[in-house]
């Protein structure tokens, strides 16, 4: 059962906190904020974030195994039980007006006393010839979205992370053959997933190799490796890491590091009082749903504390 969204938005209200994002970090922050009796609203482009595209989540305490979309729906139900609204929109700018922030999108203007930026990250692109041309025609960044189109076909996953390993395992359920193409000498997946990859007869790993070009006609037909070899495939799933969605934060003067991640302290505070950040968009070294949720929860508490210190009625 999937409860509905966006029915409780009040354009006149100054929210105690507006959480930007839509993944576990944003939802964790919003749930705690609601429990602190703060007026809270979540605004994000998509509900669920990157974890919604994950085949299986098995490392969240209390949940032995759940699909990514199933995990997200559990969050949604929890959120709805606290009457927290999610609005699908993109904030273009934020300005400080008196003691609150005004957030602008093309569709609406919002007011908030505090903000938590939990905008996560998005998949990195390879930046090679053919990638853009064949996007949606064999080049994909989401196995759960597009895997079913490659039943009994040959596909490759580019990348050696745990996420790439899980993409390969998901694709192997339907594809004839899955090649993991990795530039390193050993994939970096969690040992449990590494073992599953090694044991899966449909998956083969090609090490020390980069893809230099994607070729095809109406759809992908082959890739060219950096050693010049042409390799026939029907589809290509790119999973080479992610980049933080911190453009808005940078525009409003929030400090970021050389990777573009928002710099936060142990209280999830940024350099701008009243603006907090958490999850994949922030500068924590280990990025997982559960660590993001923890940072989001800390951000909610810090925002609550901030309102008290500023003597803002909440």
């Amino acid at each position: 059962m999937f409860p509905t969204d966006s029915l409780g938005f009040d354009p006149e209200k100054t929210y105690d906190i507006i959480v930007l994002g839509g993944g576990p970090t944003a939802i964790g922050c919003a749930i705690y904020a609601a429990r602190f009796a703060m007026d809270v609203l979540i605004i994000g482009k998509t509900f669920g974030g990157l974890i919604a595209t994950t085949h299986i989540v098995e490392n969240y305490p209390g949940i032995t195994s759940v699909s990514g979309p199933g995990f997200v729906e559990m969050f949604r139900e929890h959120m709805q039980s606290l009457n927290i609204s999610f609005i699908s929109d993109e904030i273009g700018s934020i300005e400080k007006v008196d003691d609150h922030f005004v957030l602008h999108s093309f569709f609406q203007k919002f007011k908030a006393s505090t903000i938590c930026i939990a905008t996560g990250s998005e998949r990195k692109k390879l930046g090679i010839p053919g990638e853009e041309e064949f996007a949606g025609r064999g080049v994909s960044y989401c196995a759960t979205c597009d895997g079913p189109f490659f039943k009994d076909k040959v596909v490759c996953v580019i990348g050696g992370s745990d996420s790439a390993a899980k993409e390969a395992l998901f694709l192997a359920q339907n594809a004839k053959k899955v090649y993991i193409i990795y530039r390193g000498k050993e994939i970096r997946a969690e040992p449990i997933n590494k073992k599953r990859v090694y044991e899966n007869e449909k998956i083969e790993i090609i090490y020390d190799t980069n893809v230099a070009e994607i070729k095809g006609d109406n759809s992908v037909k082959s890739v060219i490796f950096d050693n010049g070899k042409e390799f026939e495939v029907d589809g290509l799933f790119i999973d080479i890491g992610s980049i933080p969605n911190s453009d808005l934060a940078k525009r409003i003067g929030v400090n970021t590091n050389e990777k573009g991640e928002i710099i936060i302290n142990r209280k999830s505070e940024t350099n701008i009082p009243g603006i907090f950040a958490a999850g994949d968009v922030a500068d924590a070294p280990f990025k997982q749903a559960i660590t993001g949720v923890a940072e989001g929860v800390i951000a909610a508490y810090s925002a609550f504390d901030h309102l008290k210190q500023m003597e803002i009625e909440y």
């Binding site: 409860p3 509905t4 482009k45």
Partner: protein, 227 residues
């Protein structure tokens, strides 16, 4: 509380949000057999109709599901140009088709479907003001959204597209297509990724699109946020 009770409780809570009556037309392959009993030949139709009836029963009379057999209603099949089952139609008070589903929404696809029913019945539509303000810039458009049941981004795109259509007073129409159930349509449009969004059979966008991108595609230009 058992999971069945929990499920029904959520449905009751959800359907209580429905404040105005709404009627959907659902075309199925229901046939009357020689002994008078009825069967539905479409594989997805039976399970989906059972689900819809649960929503209907818990809506305090606000939701009416009008199931029509394509065999028994040839005139309506012709009038509404029905070529597949199930086909679900949202038709406004002026008789204009606003949303067409060539799908039997299941799993995560239920959420945008129910949300569209609420909005169609007059629940707040977040995008309404902006869509109405920009109607002069929007050409009559059919937005086709190709989806599959496992696609995590599809529910979001479908929600936005349907809410745009409902706000547009007939200028935008959406067609939601499950390409697992209608693979020929997916092949016709060469869809190899979802969500796959098509505007008037010309402009296409593959992957997750937010409200800004959809609006940009509708008005054929850039949109600017006034900072």
């Amino acid at each position: 509380m058992s999971s069945d009770e929990h499920y029904k409780e959520i449905i009751r809570k959800e359907m209580a949000k429905l404040k105005k009556p709404v009627k959907l037309k659902v075309f199925t392959s229901q046939r009357t057999q020689a002994d008078g009993s009825k069967i539905r030949e479409c594989m997805d139709c039976g399970q989906f109709m059972t689900l819809l009836r649960i929503y209907e029963e818990n809506s305090n009379g606000m939701l009416t599901i009008e199931e029509m057999s394509i065999d028994d209603n040839p005139e309506l099949v012709k009038r509404y140009d029905i070529s597949r089952v199930p086909t679900i139609l949202f038709i406004d008070n002026e008789g204009k088709e606003v949303i067409r589903y060539l799908a039997a929404p299941q799993g995560a696809e239920i959420q945008p479907f129910i949300q569209s029913i609420f909005t169609f019945a007059g629940a707040p539509n977040y995008y309404e003001t902006t869509i109405k303000q920009n109607l002069g810039r929007i050409q009559p458009t059919t937005i086709k959204v190709m989806m599959t049941e496992t696609c995590p981004y599809c529910p979001q795109v479908i929600t936005i597209a349907n809410m745009f259509a409902i706000a547009s007073g007939g200028k935008i129409k959406t067609v939601i297509i499950d390409i697992s159930a209608n693979p020929d349509i997916g092949q016709y449009y060469a869809a190899a990724g979802v969500p796959y969004t098509i505007f008037n059979d010309k402009k296409t966008i593959t992957g997750m699109v937010g409200p800004n991108e959809i609006l940009r595609a509708l008005i054929g230009g850039d949109i600017h946020v006034s900072y």
